[in-house]
Each structure stands twice: as C-alpha cells, then as structure tokens.
C-alpha cells in the first residue's frame, strides 16, 4: 500500500511500453490496411473490431502506443534539454544574467501548446512533428522554473558553497553537485509533462492539427471515431481508454516519485 501509486503508475506505463515494443516488430495486421469488413464489432479475428475503413483497431492501438511514446519522449526530452541547463544557469547566476533566462521562460509560458500548434500547423502543416514541436516548446518554461527553483535550493547548501569557494568552475559544480541533486524533482516534472503531452496530442488531433491518417495516433483515431459516435460509439471507446490509461500511468508515476522524495508526506501514507 505504501508505494501503491508508484507501482500502479509503473505497471500502466509498462503496459503501454510493452504495446509499443511489440508494435515496433509486429502487429496482427497492418495498422492502415483495410483488412476486414467495415465497423466490425469486437470479436475474432479482430479483437477490438474494425474501423470505418475496415482496418484492425487492435493493430492501430498497438501501433499508436509507439507513436504516443515517441511524442512524449521527443517533446519532453526536447523541453528538458533546453529548459534544464537554462534553469540551472539561471539558478546559479546572480543578478541580471540569471534573471534574463528566467524572464524569457516566462514569456514562453504565455504561449500555450495549443496556441503554438495552431500557428505551426498553419505555417508548417499539421503533423505529428509539428505537434511535438509545439508541445515541446510550451513545456520548456516548466523545466526552467523547476530547475531554477531546485537549483536555488541546492546552492544554499553548505557543500556546494564549499565547492564554489574552493575554486571548482561553475559548469563542473552544475554537473557534479547541482544536477544529481535536482534530478529527482526533474523526474517528477518529466513524468507529469509526459501525461500532458499525450493529452495535448489528442486535443490537437481533435482540431485536425495533429497527426495525419498515415500515422494513426490515438488522438487521430478518436477524431475518426467521432464520426460514428452516434451509431458506433464503441469506436470512440478504445482510443479514449488508451489515452486515459497512458496519461494516468504517467501522472501516477509522477505522484509516486513525489511522495518518495518528500519524506514528510511519505511518513503519512
């Protein structure tokens, strides 16, 4: 019970990762091929039925897991790669030099993912990549803030002060002392951002700004299922469920990690 949240989160993510790994090598059918009758109900040989084109939904869900993880990994790691060094820099530097990156991040905070994605889709065309780019950019400020706040805390510790006074160069301090100490907090943020990225992709697909037909993400499937929402509502169930499971997995992981990190809260559970 103590770490139930963590383990539940990990197992949900494990399920998604398992689907994704399987999806890289094998799906029962091609996820785009029209292999069966249209709009078949769940059963055999199409476990979850077929969509309006006669494509196998189970294969599409498996294939979608792959893309969803890709979207999450690329957009979150992209944001972290830019945001974390900036945040650490802002946290270690005093005065204007530290203030400027933090304020730039604040400006970026004013541009939410959806707003960026609308503009990008118009400028570059809607695709999984533009969606990732938009989600990534809008996630940067969260990492800058978290990294900066955590760095400020670490910097006030005695041993970091000692290292600085003994003449260790700043980049070295950042890598050796700051980064390891703030890593857990960043992990929490990454996990939470991952969940948000999955939902953002779904929202973008709903607006027609996300993935294309050739890359059937769960968001895209949900959008397509919507046309059958009155006659075959079950079509909208599977992708919706998949999105919920994956998002919940990452949210729970984030919660679990946070509990682990905060001993004061932990002892209460």
């Amino acid at each position: 019970m103590k770490r139930a949240t963590l383990y539940l989160g990990l197992s949900l993510i494990g399920l998604v990762v398992l689907l994704a790994v399987v999806g890289i090598f094998w799906t029962p059918y091609s996820p785009t091929a029209m292999v069966g009758p249209r709009l078949a109900r769940p059963g055999w040989p199409h476990l979850l039925g077929t969509d309006g084109f006669g494509a196998d939904i189970f294969s599409r869900i498996i294939n979608g897991a792959k893309i969803v993880l890709l979207v999450g990994i690329v957009s979150v790691s992209g944001a972290a790669l830019v945001g974390v060094p900036t945040g650490i820099f802002a946290g270690m530097k005093r005065g204007w030099a530290g203030e400027i990156p933090a304020r730039l991040a604040d400006i970026l905070y004013g541009f939410p993912a959806l707003l960026l994605a609308i503009l990008f889709a118009a400028a570059l065309g809607g695709s999984t990549w533009t969606a990732m780019l938009a989600i990534s950019i809008s996630t940067v400020p969260a990492f800058v803030r978290i990294a900066r706040a955590a760095t400020l805390q670490v910097m006030s510790q005695g041993y970091v002060e000692a290292a600085r006074l003994s003449g260790t160069p700043s980049p070295s301090v950042a890598v050796r002392h700051v980064l390891p100490n703030i890593a857990p907090v960043l992990g929490v943020q990454a996990s939470v951002s991952f969940g948000i990225a999955i939902l953002a992709e779904a929202g973008l697909s709903y607006l027609g700004l996300g993935s294309r037909a050739s890359e059937p993400t769960w968001g895209r499937m949900l959008r397509e299922a919507q046309d059958y929402i009155f006659s075959e509502p079950i079509q909208a169930l599977w992708p919706g469920l998949a999105i919920a499971v994956a998002t919940m997995g990452f949210n729970l992981l984030g919660d679990g990690l946070r509990d682990l990190l905060d001993p004061r809260l932990r002892e209460l559970r």
Binding site: D106, I107, G110, L114, R145, I146, V185, G203, L222, A244
Partner: protein, 319 residues
C-alpha cells in the same frame, strides 16, 4: 525593498509584453498563403493576388507594418478584419464575453467542487473512501476534456434532451438561457480543472494537518474541521491562488477546444477561423490578448507573493 522588487518585476513585464507582441506579429506574418490568396480562393486569376496584396497594403516593409500595428494596439485600435471588414476591437469584445463566461464559470465550478473533494480526500486519506476520491481525480486528469464533452452531449442533449447541445445565448439577453447553454461546456472544462485543483487542495490540507498548531488544536479537543477552518484557510487560500494562476493558461486554451465541441463562438473559434482564413489582424489581436493576459496574470500572482512571502511560491510550484 518589496516596492523595488515589484518595480523591477513590472519593468520585466513591460519588456515581456513588447517582445511577445513582436514574436506574435512575426509568426503571424510568416504564415504561408496570405489573405489575398485566401480571399480569392480557387477562383484566382494570375496576377490578381498580387494586385489585391497591393491594395491591402501587404507589400510594405515588415518593420513598418509592425510598428504601425503596435501603435494602433496601444490606442486599442486593432484595425479592421478582412472577413466582414469590421473593426477588430468590438468584434473581439463580443467574443470575449463567450470565452470569459466559459472560463470564469469553469474555474468557479472547479474550485467549488475541488475544495470539499480535496479536503475530504486529505482527511480520509488512510481510508478506502479517501483513496477512492483521489483515484477519481486521477481519472478526471487523464480524460481528454473534449471527449468528456462529446459524451455529455450524447447523454444530456441527445438522449435525455435536458440541455441544449450547442450554441450560446448572451447573458444580457437571458440569464437562464445563458446558464443553460453553458452547463455542459462548463462541466467539461471544470472536470479537468477540478481534478487538478483538488489535488493541490488535498496536499495543502495534508500539510496543514501536520503543522504543530493544528496538532495542538486537535489535542485540546477541537474537531478536524474546526481546526482546519481556523488555522488552515490561509495556507489553503495561498495554494489555491497559485494553482489558479498557473492553470489560467491551460484554462483559456482548453476553452478553444471546448468551444469547438459546443459550437460556441468565442475567442478560440474565432482564432481558428481567422488562422485558416489568414485574417492576420484578428489572429494577431487574439493571440496577443491571450498571451498578454497570461503574462499579466502571472505578474499579478508574482507580485502577490512578493508581498506575502516569496518563499511560498517556490514551495507551491515545486508541489
């Protein structure tokens, strides 16, 4: 000292607003396929687009157009929309009513629901029902809001026919109809927000319950509720303030999608239309409005903290 910090922060805000306006103008003007082309659609004759471009003044240097636009914005003159050729200011003001109704009611409902739920989940966190409530908020967080909206429409508008499926009636025309039309969209929006907020409430209540003053109050025989209300409100209120500030951007943007689901003609729908019609004046004005309001609210929350206690915000954010 506080005053100086606030002034510095205000200077940063001005710089941010300026920079943001430049970014917005640049991006909007970099969109491929311009107004002239869209207006002509699939009927354009060769050379016609060029002539129209000239007439619309799209051929002048970028910087000149930016400065002119910014100058207009500062006097609340956003120019005219290409579609319908109306002044953009009043046009946006009309749409703002829709979006504000949606977001304010959404936030209100979210807070109203999240407070008791979060507190309950905190108080009963070691019991099954408390855990169940927490789990419920996890589900709320994981469901796409538009998906929930679609199901709400199917159940309450299509099957039961209790509520309208779409559309908006102005508050000034009929308060009853206004509320009626907003119920489903507001619930869809509040579902996610309520889940987020209830989690903040839960952890801040847990925090309060570990404070010495709370334990003391309990030790002298106060009930949990009484102790919480007497000593915890301030702490919880600060936490709430933070989360509302942080969630504002999400809320405004979430409204864009919800407006589509419920055919509400608010800022989001107008923005999507303006982007696809390359009605750049409208695109710039709406994006500017959204971005500036996020920046300004962020600033206000920040200032509030400078006044209360700067350490609090960091703690709240790290949560």
């Amino acid at each position: 000292m506080v005053l100086r910090r606030v002034l510095v922060r205000a200077a940063w805000l001005l710089a941010s607003l300026l920079l943001a306006s430049f970014l917005i103008f640049a991006v909007a003007n970099a969109l491929p396929g311009d107004m002239a082309q869209i207006l002509l659609g699939t009927n354009a004759a060769p050379g016609e687009a060029e002539a129209l471009r000239e007439r619309l003044g799209l051929n002048r240097p970028f910087l000149v157009r930016y400065l002119e636009w910014l100058g207009g914005v500062l006097q609340l003159d956003f120019g005219n929309s290409y579609i319908g050729n109306r002044p953009i200011g009043p046009l946006i003001a009309a749409r703002l009513e829709v979006t504000l109704s949606l977001t304010i009611l959404g936030m209100l409902l979210a807070v109203l629901v999240a407070l008791p739920i979060g507190a309950y989940a905190a108080a009963r966190r070691r019991h099954l029902d408390g855990a169940a409530v927490s789990a419920l908020s996890q589900v709320g967080l994981a469901i796409p809001a538009f998906w929930a909206g679609i199901w709400l429409v199917i159940i309450f508008a299509v099957q039961l026919r209790w509520l309208p499926a779409s559309g908006y009636v102005s508050y000034w025309d009929s308060i009853g109809q206004w509320l009626l039309h907003l119920i489903l969209p507001v619930i869809s929006l509040a579902l996610v927000q309520g889940s987020v907020i209830s989690r903040y409430v839960r952890s801040s209540v847990i925090e309060v319950m570990q404070e010495d003053y709370f334990r003391t109050a309990r030790a002298v025989g106060w009930s949990k509720t009484r102790a919480l209300v007497r000593h915890g409100l301030r702490n919880i209120a600060i936490s709430l303030l933070t989360v509302i500030g942080l969630q504002l951007a999400t809320l405004l943007v979430g409204a864009i999608i919800i407006e589509q689901v419920f055919a509400l003609n608010g800022l989001g729908s107008t923005l999507l239309r303006a982007v696809s019609g390359r009605d750049l004046g409208v695109v710039q004005a709406i994006v500017l409005l959204l971005v500036w309001s996020v920046l300004i609210i962020n600033f206000l929350v920040d200032v509030a903290y400078q006044i209360i206690d700067p350490r609090l915000r960091r703690a709240a954010e790290a949560r």
